[in-house]
């Protein structure tokens, strides 16, 4: 058997260049599915080389007959071989494949990395992506809603609420909105009430670190689109005014709330006092009764979606003097939120308006008109925010890509380490002792 050892089975990682030895019949015997190689160079020369005769020693034993049959099959060609002729993926016979511990380690490492990658891809796919696009708004719109819930620190009958817009219309909003008498003290300590631009504790909001701020009271930008769309479908309702304390019939404040339809043009929505601003008969109000401090619980444009938080929601502003003028300049941007791309079926969208607001307030002389003025203008750009998820098919392809990549990388990693080991091993052998060719451990681990 000495001749057999000379050639040694080719290991998994080394480059085999041997040719011309006869593959032994597989130790399982059953020929199903095992097609012997169709054409080889030098395949038939083996019976003449010494050392192989033992395989064909006893022509009359049953095992020989089986092998004989197998050998005949090995020499023939079958019909099914046409398809297998196309087989481009090299598979080695099991006995010519060695498994090594390094290979095993690399396999385990590769499996772990694959799992980690698979998990991250899965979570990323599930989360979906958010796309923001701007475009010019289509359509000739006539009207727009404003939803208002504000508490002013003056009695209800002393207030006038009107809108004047660029189309020349004046809207007597007072008749369309509800007015409830209430007390200032019942509102001023409400949850989340803050000044515009500051948070609940009075700290200035600069917007930095917004990714770390997981404050769910803050509106639009930090929430997920699907949350917003889901909230948008809830039924919109105005909260109830808290009841006045027993015994009093009139509070010192007025809560004005409701929805109003405006012309969709630039305009000015204002709350002024009786007798100061619009010409009326003898309705002058004493100057000491003026106090335009207010708490805005809700101010939004478009359909009434109370769960969406707008910049002026829950803001408070106190007037240090009787004759004080509050001006809010708002720029309205129409916005749509969609879950799923709108051109595909099964997507839901809500249409709202976002706005940016700046405030200018000052104390004024008694010749000017005090009050709360909301001046709004409408931008032509429409902002679309679409949250979409890739289809399942695309996700599968991505996963297959990732796993194949990990597999190939693992294979390469193993090859590299083997090669490095070989170089290092050679160096150490060159410099130091040599164990001889036979029985050396350096060839295959």
């Amino acid at each position: 058997m000495s001749g057999y050892n000379d050639f040694g089975p080719p290991s998994h990682g080394s480059s085999g260049h041997n040719g011309g030895f006869q593959p032994a019949p597989p130790p399982g015997g059953n020929n199903n599915g095992f097609q012997p190689p169709v054409s080889h160079n030098g395949f038939h020369s083996q019976p003449h080389t010494p050392g192989f005769d033992h395989l064909h020693s006893n022509p009359h034993s049953p095992s020989y007959k089986k092998r004989d049959l197998l050998d005949e099959d090995a020499f023939g060609s079958k019909a099914g071989n046409i398809v297998s002729a196309f087989d481009a993926f090299p598979k080695s016979k099991p006995q010519y494949v060695t498994r090594t511990t390094t290979g095993g380690k690399w396999t385990v490492a590769m499996l772990c990395i694959s799992l980690v990658l698979f998990w991250s891809e899965l979570s990323r796919w599930w989360r979906g992506t958010e796309t923001h696009t701007f475009a010019v708004e289509k359509g000739v719109e006539h009207y727009m809603n404003i939803n208002l819930d504000i508490v002013v620190r003056m009695k209800c009958q002393d207030l006038h609420i009107n809108v004047q817009d660029a189309a020349g219309d004046r809207i007597l909003a007072g008749s369309k909105l509800q007015r409830d008498p209430t007390n200032w003290s019942q509102w001023v300590d409400g949850k989340g009430v803050h000044r515009l631009g500051r948070d609940e504790h009075g700290r200035l909001i600069t917007g930095e670190g917004w990714t770390a701020m997981h404050t769910h009271e803050e509106g639009f930008g930090e929430e997920h689109v699907h949350d917003i769309v889901a909230l948008g479908r809830r039924r919109a309702r105005w909260g109830k005014t808290p009841r006045l304390p027993w015994g009093t019939r009139e509070g010192d404040s007025c809560r004005v709330y409701g929805s109003l339809e405006l012309n969709k043009v630039q305009g000015d929505f204002h709350i002024t006092a009786r007798g100061h601003g619009y010409m009326e008969f003898g309705e002058h109000l004493d100057h000491n009764a003026f106090n335009f401090s207010h708490i805005i619980s809700e101010l939004s444009f478009g359909p009434f979606l109370p769960s969406l938080v707008n910049p002026l929601d829950r803001t408070v502003n106190t007037a240090p003097a009787h004759f004080h003028k509050f001006q809010y300049f708002m720029s309205i941007v129409p916005t749509t939120y969609s879950v799923g791309h709108p051109s595909k079926s099964g997507s839901t969208s809500i249409f709202t308006n976002q706005y940016a607001v700046t405030e200018q307030s000052q104390e004024i002389s008694e010749r000017t008109i005090p009050g709360i003025f909301f001046k709004y203008d409408i931008e032509p750009m429409l902002l679309n925010i679409v949250e979409s998820r890739d289809s399942f098919f695309v996700f599968c392809i991505k996963i297959i890509n990732v796993l194949s990549g990990a597999l190939v990388a693992g294979h390469w990693g193993f090859t590299m380490t083997e090669w490095l080991k070989e170089i290092v091993g050679k160096r150490s052998r060159r410099s130091g002792h040599s164990d001889g060719v036979l029985g050396s451990k350096g060839h295959y681990a």
Binding site: V83, F86, A88, K91, A167, R170
Partner: protein
Amino acid sequence: MPAKSRFTRLDAFTKTVEDARIRTTSGGIVTIVSLIVVLFLAWGEWTDYRRIVIHPELIVDKGRGERMEIHLNVTFPRIPCELLTLDVMDVSGEQQHGVQHGVKKTRLRPQSEGGGDIDSKALSLHAAEDSATHLDPSYCGPCYGASAPTNAAKPGCCNTCDEVREAYARSSWAFGRGEGVEQCEREHYAERLDEQRHEGCRIEGGLRVNKVVGNFHIAPGRSFSNGNMHVHDLKNYWDTPVAGGHSFTHTIHHLRFGPQLPDDFGKKLGNKHLPWTNHHLNPLDGTKQETDDPNYNYMYFVKIVPTSYLPLGWEKKFAGFRDDHSADIGAFGQSVDGSVETHQYSVTSHKRSLAGGDDKAEGHEERMHSRGGIPGVFFSYDISPMKVINREERAKTFLGFVAGLCAAVGGTLTVAAAVDRGLFEGATRLRKLRSKDL
């Protein structure tokens, strides 16, 4: 050879010796299937490479051109062309001077006769007509009390009916039908006016205006500006023998600010196109408004967004936009390299009666309209500082295509190899199990 053996040692792509190789049917099938998949994916990569998409961007419009073109085509079926005036004004109320225009008025048959065309005439925008060709050169017509207009053909004289009307307009006097005015009787102004009473009018053409906030309007009667005031002579509009009076019922066939974007624009936008945006539609096209009240006023508030369209390879040919003021009306904004500078707009409209009143009839009692003003159709436009740039680009570069191809081929073959190996191992195990049972 030593060189060969060195490279051989470096070979990391291990190849199995032919004799040790096993070929299986399942392997063959997997190979064929994977080849088909590779071809399919490669074809997909190729079509992706050839596709051209449009990327819209939003920037601040720093390099604003000075001028803007307005193209309109509006029909007024119930007012004759004689009575209509088109004025262009800027935000301070001043009439814009030096407005290049190519607008014509087309007389239309009355609505009862079908409203077909009669003839068309170029509109004179604030320029005096010179039609007194047959008169004695030394003729100097009287101005009937008003001072002669400054743009008269002969200074100090009102030689044509139009000049008398202009003189009266400058003095803010109503003119009427011109009875007793010699120039108008000679030109048969009154007769012309009377026979045209039942006609309609179509105004179409283009104007090149300054790119500032402004408005242009179509109102009855001659107009005149004096400082902050802009007045119209409404006498002929109100005193009319037409039953029911004239009214500003109108149909806007077409209104755009700048050249039209190419038609295949929407297709190229691909899946970025959302149903609520108007990439090349003009919102006011095909708008129809009807009224029977002669004292009705329509207002359109237009917000204009500059837009430009840059075709593929634009940067290499000619980067930079220069206003070509010598271009004819209609050609403005279209450069030789195929780029188009135009404007999209968003609009809201409003209408009211001059008598004021509220919208009680529509259930909105709280909405009160202002009183006064003049009847007509007013377009107020405002220009946004944001500019939309639509840039045509290839979906993928060539190197991207090659990389995608490698990824497709490599990925498929790796997966197929893994599948094949799995099948082979599985088959071997099964065989072992079965042989053990035997």
